[in-house]
Amino acid sequence: MEYFLRRVIFLIGTLWVAVTVNFFIPRAMPGNPVETMMARFHERGTMSPSAMKAITVMLGISHGNIFQQYGEYLNHVVHFNFGVSYTYFPYSVTYMISHALPWTLGLVGVATIFSFGLGTMFGIIAAMRRGKAVDGSLTILSSFTNTFPYFWFGLMALYFLSFVYHWFPLTGAYGASMTPNLSWSFIGSVAYHGFLPALTIMISSIGGWLLGMRNNMINALNEDYVLLATAKGLKPSWVAWMYVARNAILPNLTGFAMALGFVVGGSLLTEIVFSYPGIGYLLYNAVVNEDFPLMQGIFLIIVVCVVLANFVADLAYVMFDPRVRRGGAS
């Protein structure tokens, strides 16, 4: 319990630091957001000073001193209010993020979970058959895909499978003529559009999980308790799972929770290549258009996800490893 409390305090502390850094960085950057915004409106035609004033007020740009601004900012953050996007005016940052987030979570989250599950499973198989043909081919294949530039794989897949052969769509998360709903045809369209991006993410990450798990398994196989389990005449599948794999997976759980934390921010290139309307694609557009409020909001979401994932990783370790569970924190 004390351990849990310490973790929660640590979590809150980290979040505060992240939020604060997120406040100061844009202010340390050259340029004035309002001017950027105005410049953008000017491109579309001249504006009267009164209109400019109205926009300034509407964008919520305050003129108090830095402390007042900071207080206001904190107040906005806890209400998930990050202001108005310059690029997608008049939509708010929160609106834009909340419409992009589900796509990223769905695509990258599912791909990451599958990749971890399959990689771990094949890692176990490779380790239990070590030295055999299965192990050799899995290991070589993984080492290869692991060093692969995955956006390149994405581009190749997109070019051949979508552009040349038209087997898969070129852009988007669902058919352009559809509106999101819960019908089978819409879900089918989402799966069809998500297949190549998900495959790209999985191919680039599955090898890492496989090699990591295989390595941990082989270390665990040399443990004395595995020798004793063999001596006990336990069924090989029981030994492989209860004695070897369950011990070998512990170090990987932390990595998995961390990977889930990077789901939101970690798929930038894939989303750009496939024009997938997720957070990564949104961030790309925000950067290209110098949309500071949107960038700020997205950075905050990414950081919060990573910090939360760290927290979950710690808890997962406590759940699965009795040594941490009862011995308190180490």
């Binding site: 308790y225 004793l228 001596a231 006990k232 005449g233 336990l234 490893d321 009795p322």
Partner: protein
């Protein structure tokens, strides 16, 4: 008395290219309820032999010849599944203390349960009752069944390992240095536990140790190994009176003197030979105070001299005199 283990000419190598001939032509018989002690310096092949008998050798170790008959089955040629079923019901092992022989993520109870579940038809209640009885035999509270290994002391873990080894009432228990990493007080407790267990349950034991004193105390018969070979074998009581092989004598001398327990523990001068290439000579000759030219030129055989099995050109004559005079 029926024979539990009958191993003939067992040889074990480490590696294929330029192998270490760690165990060579060892024959060993263990009878029902007999405690056999296996002693020798570090590196003489005790563990290698013990693990090979239980078919627990791990690469690069490889049994290259011999037969291992255990309760009528040849464990060397037994297929994987019958071997698995024979394990722990016929032969169990206790690993060296200090090794982590218990799975860190399973409770002690679960580690008793899985082996009983997979080898017997006991009900869950019977399994718990049996585990509690076993712990009681080594003086450990039954609550410990719900604990994890890291919550227990080294001595407790080792007593649990012994209780676990006896849970299916095996014919033979192989113990590889079960007390070595423990302090003297705990070591004493475990030795007393073992003597007590012997009164409560019938089993044979192969007790592996580098401590001749401990082996003489516990074992009925003592096998002395040097550089991968048996050099002497006789009953513990007669060995106490007449250690024949010069190496056994040296081991005896290096024991702490009961009159002067603080006296220095003397090692045997010299080092054991390299086991990559086995010379034609007595392997102990370079370190032996009694060595003659014959010892350096021929390999002494292990001879059955009635009172002792001995591998020595020099002291075999003494045995002859000893037996002849009937002393």
């Amino acid at each position: 008395m029926s024979v539990i283990v009958q191993a003939e000419n067992v040889s074990v190598d480490y590696g294929r290219k330029n192998p270490v001939h760690a165990v060579r032509n060892v024959s060993l018989t263990i009878e029902e309820n007999q405690f056999v002690g296996l002693v020798g310096e570090s590196g003489c092949g005790k563990s290698t032999l013990g693990f090979a008998l239980a078919r627990l050798e791990r690469p690069p170790a490889q049994i290259i010849s011999g037969t291992i008959q255990i309760v009528g089955q040849d464990w060397r040629t037994l297929a994987a599944e019958p071997l698995r079923r024979a394990r722990w019901t016929e032969v169990s092992v206790v690993l060296q203390s200090g090794m982590n022989a218990l799975n860190p993520i399973m409770t002690i109870g679960a580690q008793f349960k899985d082996v009983m579940e997979q080898h017997t038809r006991m009900s869950p209640a019977e399994i718990v009752a049996r585990a509690e009885t076993m712990l009681e035999m080594v003086q450990i509270q039954p609550e410990v069944l719900g604990r994890y290994p890291h919550e227990l002391s080294g001595g407790m873990k080792q007593r649990i390992a012994i209780a676990l080894a006896l849970v299916l009432q095996p014919k033979l228990v192989i113990m590889d240095e079960p007390t070595t990493a423990l302090d003297m007080v705990v070591q004493r407790q475990i030795v007393e536990n073992l003597k007590e267990l012997r009164r409560q349950q019938a089993f044979s034991m192969l007790f592996i140790s580098h401590d001749l004193g401990l082996v003489l105390e516990l074992a009925d018969q003592v096998v002395v190994m040097y550089a991968g070979e048996v050099v002497e074998r006789q009953s513990a009581t007669s060995m106490l009176d007449h250690p024949w092989h010069p190496y056994t004598r040296a081991l005896m001398h290096s024991l702490p003197d009961p009159e002067n327990p603080k006296g220095s523990y003397e090692g045997i001068p010299g080092t054991p030979p390299d086991l990559h290439h086995i010379p034609t000579a007595c392997l102990y000759a370079p370190r032996c105070p009694l060595a003659t030219d014959v010892c350096r030129a021929q390999t002494p055989p292990l001879e059955d001299l009635k009172v002792v099995d001995l591998r020595c050109f020099v002291t075999r004559e003494e045995v002859g005199v000893h037996v002849g005079t009937g002393a």
